[in-house]
């Protein structure tokens, strides 16, 4: 498709290149030429919903009005957010059966552990994943009354974070939540929707962060368990490697990283050590490594 004529929004190859460079600098997300069609369509939507009728007018306003939320609108348009409670639940099984016991052992045991056990869900999308973690720990982890646990959820998309904070979900999203848990931790709020109760909501701290932004990711430290599922698959080689390094920096030596079922860290970076659990592969930041 090299030298393709302007498409849809009237983006020339030069326009596309300028946009890609700008977006990469601002967000760390790089769109290869193969994503051209995908990006054009999203920009078309943004231009249509803006007061501007051309790419150049819209792009100029985007750069000048960064603080006004145009860039965030675009980020929100360009991310995939599709999930439900207890998705890829076998990894939560692995967390309970093997990972958390190992974390406690490596940190000196329940009686000697200093500081909280920290769990990160990144990207957390609309909150189903971090709240699922909280539910399974509360209901099924026998150490929950003896260990201080912090659960954090983070995402680049401000709209999904607002939904995560509100924590109201449709029937499809909660269909795998066992009925007793639904009764115990959720409140029906009408139209077939359920809101997660304040107790669970307050157990999860939400943050807005770009996983590729090394500077911003430095505020994430000492995580024992990280769920980073179904995002690296959408990144190019450079961005996925940078994201992997940022996750590494966010983890405690010996910490565990879960990826999505169709993702493999070995293809991205050698910095983590894969270990095969009964429930599948988990990646570990080596204990001795800096």
């Amino acid at each position: 498709m090299a030298g393709a004529p302007a498409t849809g929004a009237g983006l020339s190859d030069a326009d596309f290149a300028r946009f890609v460079e700008y977006f990469y600098k601002r967000t760390g997300i790089h769109f290869a030429a193969s994503k051209r069609y995908f990006v054009d369509k999203r920009i078309e939507t943004c231009i249509r919903e803006s007061p501007y009728d051309s790419f150049s007018g819209w792009f100029a306003a985007l750069r000048v009005n960064e603080k006004s939320g145009m860039l965030q609108d675009l980020i929100n348009q360009l991310t995939v957010n599709e999930t439900y409670f207890l998705r890829e639940d076998y990894q939560f099984d692995a967390m309970l059966s093997t990972v958390l016991p190992n974390v406690l052992r490596d940190r000196g045991g329940v009686s000697r552990i200093v500081g909280p056990v920290k769990i990160l869900s990144l990207p957390c999308s609309t909150g189903e994943e971090p709240y699922s973690i909280a539910l399974r720990l509360l209901e099924e982890w026998d150490q929950i009354d003896h260990v201080d646990v912090e659960i954090h959820g983070a995402d680049i998309d401000s709209e999904v974070l607002a939904k995560a904070a509100h924590a109201s979900y449709g029937e499809r999203s909660v269909q795998r939540v066992p009925k007793p848990w639904l009764n115990k931790y959720f409140t029906p709020v009408g139209s077939g929707r359920y809101q997660v109760d304040e107790g669970i909501r307050s157990a999860v701290t939400l943050h807005r962060v770009n996983i590729c932004d090394t500077l911003a990711m430095r505020s994430f430290r000492d995580f024992d368990v990280v769920f980073c599922r179904n995002v690296l698959i959408y990144f190019d080689e450079l961005s996925s490697r940078r994201a992997a390094e940022n996750l590494y920096g966010a983890m405690r030596p010996g910490g565990y990283l879960f990826l999505g079922h169709s993702e493999s860290m070995s293809r991205i970076s050698p910095i983590f050590t894969p270990s095969r659990l009964a429930e599948g592969i988990v990646y570990q930041r080596p204990i001795g490594a800096k």
Binding site: M1, S34, R42, E82, E88, R172, N230, Y234
Partner: protein, 132 residues
């Protein structure tokens, strides 16, 4: 691609615009001719008029879900024998069986990586036109 052989035509059916565009962009770049539908009903309507070589169909969609859509594609309404791949976030035992019972040829759990999607699409459309 030779001049005489048109690229395979694919219909991507998903209510999530971002997912639809992700799959479309991958397939377009690989040389497939791609159309999109936002739900099952729309897909069935389009498929009565266009002889697609491959369908990628999401499961959970408004108006008409993926299973009903695939049943309609296989019924006399459309009557296509083109391969149908159902792609869903659902991964319970039985989800794939339901897809196959509806008439799908393959059931995949999201997300599906780019290389894998192209490999599968190429394999299923072999002999039905050539990607550019």
């Amino acid at each position: 691609m030779t001049d005489t052989e048109a690229p395979p035509r694919v219909l991507v059916v998903d209510d999530a615009a971002t997912v639809r565009l992700y799959h479309s962009s991958l397939l377009t770049e690989a040389g497939f001719q791609v159309d999109e539908s936002a739900n099952g009903l729309e897909a069935v309507e389009v498929a009565t008029a266009v002889p697609y070589d491959l369908f990628l169909v999401d499961v959970n969609m408004p108006k008409m879900n993926g299973y009903t859509c695939v049943e309609a594609l296989r019924s006399d309404t459309v009557g296509t024998d083109a391969p149908v791949v159902m792609i869903s976030t659902e991964d319970r035992p039985g989800d794939a069986d339901r897809a196959y019972a509806a008439g799908a040829n393959l059931y995949l759990v999201k997300p599906v990586g780019g290389e894998r999607l192209i490999r599968i699409a190429s394999m299923l459309t072999a002999g039905r036109g050539a990607p550019a």
